[in-house]
């Protein structure tokens, strides 16, 4: 792979990552959000695959495949199952901050991410490290989604966005997290999603909804 192609592919993957994160903030339909999340998983695995091809590292390639299966396959599938169990009326999110304001906030968060990742980029300027701000921005946008979304499922997506961002930063900053570490993180994420999935269905059984603000009643 030529250097120019590598940089272009890397930027493409990074751009897709950021774009999908913003689209998740923009869309209201939960089915669409899950679909976009799957696309983001694909973008993430593409990013890792490009890095693997550039480094000629077969282990990294293996990790890319694993990421593809987990983030574009298993996790979206789990989310879709949860959605199907939730029924029709649960398909719309009613965010605490409306969509327009969310998009503006996302712009501010991207700026902050660029500002704070400058020291990291300056440590070792390269094509990969210049993409670090994108990962950081995805982390912040994910956190923002976690804070402002009411529906348990869209919060779950926010959490997974954060994790995608962290994974991206990890790979971009180090070009190659140890395999065991990545395996552990991925398993953790899977477990967290499973637990939250069970929790959300229990919530639905108990309250008839997965609106987290209903939990306020449990406050003494």
């Amino acid at each position: 792979m030529s250097e120019a192609l590598y940089v272009q592919l890397l930027d493409l993957a990074g751009g897709a990552l950021l774009l999908t994160a913003v689209v998740i903030l923009w869309r209201r339909k939960l089915t669409a959000i899950v679909r976009v999340f799957a696309v983001q998983g694909f973008a993430l695995s593409l990013l890792v695959a490009v890095l693997a091809a550039h480094e000629n590292d077969p282990t990294l390639g293996g990790i890319a495949v694993g990421l593809l299966v987990l983030r574009a396959g298993v996790l979206p599938w789990l989310l879709r199952r949860a959605l199907a169990a939730a029924g029709e009326e649960q398909h719309e999110t009613r965010p605490l901050v409306n969509v327009a304001a969310s998009l503006l906030a996302a712009a501010v968060l991207v700026l902050i991410a660029y500002a704070v990742s400058q020291p990291l980029v300056e440590l070792f300027p390269s094509a990969a490290s210049t993409a670090i701000p994108v990962g950081m921005a995805v982390v912040l946008i994910g956190f923002f989604a976690l804070v402002t979304r009411r529906h348990a499922l869209s919060q779950l997506v926010g959490f997974l966005l954060m994790d995608n961002g962290i994974t991206a930063v990890g790979f971009l900053a180090t070009t190659g997290v140890a395999f065991v570490v990545e395996l552990g993180i991925s398993l953790d994420v899977l477990m967290a999603v499973l637990v939250l999935y069970v929790l959300a269905s229990r919530m639905r059984e108990a309250f008839g909804t997965t609106d987290l603000d209903d939990l306020r009643e449990l406050h003494d």
Partner: protein
């Protein structure tokens, strides 16, 4: 054969095996199993401690037991003394805790934790590294906390447990900070490294460490102002646990202060150390007077005994402070004498406090009440327990031939002879201390006369007291053993004084023995001698002669049975007896300004006339004044802070997440801007 190693190994094995056995045996037997095991742990520990005092060396390092610092143990005479005392206390507490299978065995958790608690008490004084020491100290605190929480009366136990948990951990934090400062200065975790660096600690650091140590270790001994947990925990804990806590755990505070002051900071030799020792002396004297005043006012039997512990620990601290003061001003013989007095008083206090708590525990168990005004009349119903409490009360009240008399006499001798020996500050402090010790001795007589007279003699003041039954045989055996120990310490202190002299000599640098003589104690260095045995025998003879003379004279005259004069007001009822409150009334008047009692009188008149009285209600409480002044504001502040915090917790998950989000963004922005 190394007796220390064997003793500690046996104690460890017995402790662990007993704890496991207490988990698995049927519920009728767990108290018996635990009691036997704890007694074994104690006996082995006492043997090991005695061997260590006599100079048997012992060192053990187990680096794999705890991560990072491992466990290292080393026995020296000072540690050995406290191991021996803890072992003796555990042995009698164990025997006392054995319950016949047909009796109620209590909570199983008590039986499981008791041997572990005894075991941790034995190991704390032989720890020879800061890490091991703190770990074992915490093990001791946690096991005793569990024991407090397993107390019979739920609500009280939970309340006491909360106080105890908070205060013991505050104490631990103070100790930890102090020792960590020392470790950082010495560059090593082992006690040997601390000792080697002792001479070069700057005075400011040494002073800070000493103050922290007195606060932290003092709270374990019930020294003012961190004594508030003590009466609660001792009252709430099961009887045999209270015995062990008061007779062994409280001593370890003294151990810590002596260890840090004399050993790690070399307080005996540095001249700058004088102000600490003066401070410790005054704090000890204040604790002694305040403790015994509270005890004298109290009509709760267990609270009375707890505050008496504060008093005795105060006396011991005063002795330690005096020893340090004398040592740092160069009078080695006096320093040795004061330290011997303090250590002997530690030993004596353990013996008579164990006896008193055993007797009090049996009384509370038999009557279900610890209010002195509801006891009384127990002598014919519980003769053994009454005799034990009576002997314990005599031992505690600093009168010959009591146990505390010898050690308090030694302490007074040291303080009086120190008057001319050192500088200006001490010539002001020492007379005050002498006065405090003397006042304490007098008040303790009044306190224990009240506790024994009102609690055990006269006629029963309640139905429960009139239906009391004697304690089980094992408890009586335990009381007999402890009482015998008190008697030996009272009349033949010369059996233990050489050992104590060796311990004191190793710390203060005083050469030779400080107290000589087998029957008559001769103080070396200062003029003074006392023969407890002769005094005791003389008193016994005098009492027997007086009683015989009265009996002989009384039977000469003809006897006539008649009703007791009752002013014509009908038969006398138990309600007309002296109560604990009325007995303490004169003292309360004298110390009105100090104890600040709260009295309330409500007079109810019948509807017909205001000149007639239907009902008079009189209430008097003596609140712990220090607790009010010092703890209330702190607690109020904490709870205000808590309610401010609750406003942040609205129950909305989004809000909680938003806190995190905004803090993160704020930090990132701050990072980006300030870089």
């Amino acid at each position: 054969m190394n007796l220390v190693a064997v003793g500690l190994a046996v104690a460890t094995a017995a402790g662990v095996v007993t704890a496991v056995l207490a988990v698995v045996v049927p519920s009728r037997f767990h108290a018996a199993v635990s009691g036997i095991g704890t007694a074994l742990v104690g006996a082995a520990g006492a043997a090991a401690g005695a061997a260590a005092v006599l100079g048997q060396p012992f060192a053990l390092s187990l680096p794999w037991v705890l991560p990072l610092f491992g466990v290292s143990l080393e026995a020296d005479p000072l540690g050995g003394l406290f191991v021996a005392v803890a072992g003796g206390a555990a042995a009698t507490a164990g025997v006392y805790g054995i319950r016949p299978a047909r009796r109620d065995s209590g909570v199983r958790a008590t039986s499981v934790v008791m041997p572990l608690f005894a075991f941790s008490l034995l190991l704390v004084p032989v720890a020879s590294g800061v890490g091991s020491f703190l770990a074992l100290w915490e093990l001791m605190a946690l096991t005793s906390l569990v024991l407090v929480l397993t107390g019979r009366r739920r609500a009280e136990a939970v309340e006491a447990g909360r106080w105890y948990a908070v205060m013991t951990h505050l104490g631990l934090v103070a100790i930890m900070i102090g020792l960590m400062i020392l470790v950082a200065h010495a560059g090593g975790d082992s006690f040997a490294a601390l000792r080697a660096a002792a001479g070069s600690v700057p005075p400011a650091i040494a002073g800070t460490v000493f103050v922290l140590a007195v606060l932290g270790f003092g709270s374990k001994s019930g020294i003012l102002p961190l004594h508030a947990w003590m009466s609660r925990a001792y009252s709430a804990a099961p009887g045999h646990a209270a015995v062990l806590m008061s007779a062994a755990m409280a001593n370890l505070g003294v151990y810590g202060i002596v260890r840090v002051g004399f050993d790690f900071l070399d307080g005996a030799r540095s001249d700058t150390a004088r102000w600490w020792w003066i401070g410790a002396l005054l704090l000890g004297a204040a604790s002694a007077v305040y403790g015994i005043l509270q005890a004298a006012m109290s009509s709760d039997l267990l609270r009375l005994l707890s505050f008496s512990s504060t008093e005795n620990m105060g006396l011991i601290l005063a002795g330690v402070g005096a020893a340090g003061l004398f040592a740092s001003s160069g009078s080695g013989a006096l320093a040795g004498l004061a330290l011997v007095a303090a250590l002997l008083h530690t030993l004596n206090h353990s013996a008579f406090k164990a006896l008193l708590f055993q007797a009090a525990g049996s009384t509370v168990e038999a009557t279900g009440s610890r209010d002195l005004d509801e006891l009384g009349g127990l002598r014919p119903r519980m003769p053994g327990t009454t005799a034990a409490f009576g002997w314990g009360a005599l031992a505690a009240s600093a009168l010959p031939p009591g146990t505390a008399f010898v050690s308090e006499w030694l302490l007074i001798q040291a303080l009086i002879h120190g008057l001319g020996a050192s500088g200006v500050a001490s010539s002001v402090v020492l007379p005050v201390a002498v006065g405090a010790v003397a006042l304490t001795a007098g008040l303790s007589v009044a306190t224990f006369v009240k506790a024994f007279g009102v609690g055990f003699l006269a006629r029963p003041r309640s139905d429960a007291a009139s239906q009391a039954t004697e304690a089980p045989a094992t408890a009586l055996v335990a009381m007999g053993l402890t009482g015998a120990a008190c008697a030996i310490l009272a009349v033949l202190p010369s059996l233990v004084l050489p050992g104590l002299g060796r311990v004191a000599g190793s710390l203060t640098g005083a050469a030779g023995t400080t107290v000589d003589g087998a029957v008559t104690l001769e103080l070396s260095g200062v003029a003074g001698s006392l023969s407890p045995l002769v005094v005791g025998v003389g008193l016994l003879v005098a009492v027997v002669l007086a009683a015989g003379a009265v009996r002989a004279l009384a039977v000469r005259r003809a006897r006539r049975a008649a009703r007791l004069w009752d002013c014509g007001a009908g038969p006398l009822t138990p309600r007309m007896e002296y109560t604990a409150t009325s007995f303490a009334e004169p003292l309360q008047r004298v110390f009105d300004n100090v104890v600040a009692p709260e009295t309330g009188v409500d007079v109810t008149h019948p509807e017909e006339s205001n000149y007639l009285v239907e009902l008079v209600e009189y209430r008097r409480t003596v609140p712990d004044r220090i607790e009010r002044r010092l703890y209330r504001p702190v607690l109020a502040l904490v709870s205000a802070w808590g309610s401010v915090g609750r406003r942040l917790a609205s129950g909305s998950i989004h809000q909680y997440l938003a806190y995190g989000f905004f803090v993160l963004i704020g930090l990132l922005v701050a990072l980006a801007v300030t870089r």
